[in-house]
Symmetry: C2
Subunit: 114 residues, 2 copies
DNA sequence: TGAACATATGATCAATTATTCATATGTCAA
DNA sequence: TTGACATATGAATAATTGATCATATGTTCA
């Protein structure tokens, strides 16, 4: 493991985050702060999936998946595409894809260094 | 066997996240899913700060700050340095610094595109 | 030693939230 | 149309959580 200093991120938050920004940012993190939603995100990471298949793969009730998808949709993290009676969900935001990937790498490295 | 990844973050989660990984990852995001903790992180982003100054700057009770700092410390997001009767907190993990900076950039861009 | 200061922490309470159940809406095929 | 399938959603419930209060621990200095 390297221990180099990332000069890139320094200075980004020179002042303490104001109330509005911190609420907004917390909202983004909160969307990813649940195992079920993370598994949904990982399931649609590469390809779109319909609700039924998501429920099946994740072994969750269809209702639970729908509720979480709605939240992710409200936060513009996933988007819907209707096709007949199926609704396909996919990642709406590549930033979130990167955020997810970055954080996943982080915990995997942490895991190894304990 | 191995397929070529068309984009940087693609392929990171080729399979659906397992229960353990999703719990761990959710834990990391949950740590940042609260405005108060985010403001604490932003306050120690560049320099260490003692508890009292954090409480003063963030306009929070000392107790509330201490509780949140403990959580951040348990998650190895901040670290303590004792000096006399003061305890100075700083970011313990540069990955978190990058994660924070990345996410902040994200919402700032989103903000502009609405 | 005692008083003031700095930090930590257990208990409590209010607010939030993830899931389940029941049900509604919408689509397709026979 | 009817019945089966796919998805969405409101209500209820249990679990989690952030802040506060009261108090404990630890440090410095007169």
């Amino acid at each position: 493991m390297t221990q180099k200093k990332p000069r890139s991120a320094r200075g980004v938050a020179s002042a303490v985050l104001d109330a509005h920004s911190s609420e907004q940012l917390a909202g983004l993190f909160r969307a990813l702060a649940d195992p079920t939603r993370l598994r949904i995100v990982s399931a649609v990471f590469d390809d779109e999936q319909c609700v039924h298949d998501l429920a099946s793969v994740l072994e969750l009730e269809q209702s639970a998946v729908s509720h979480q998808l709605r939240m992710l949709r409200d936060l513009r993290i996933v988007r819907r595409r209707k096709e007949g009676r199926h609704v396909y969900y996919s990642l709406d935001d590549s930033h979130v894809r990167d955020l997810f990937a970055f954080a996943l790498e982080h915990i995997r490295h942490q895991e190894g260094s304990r």
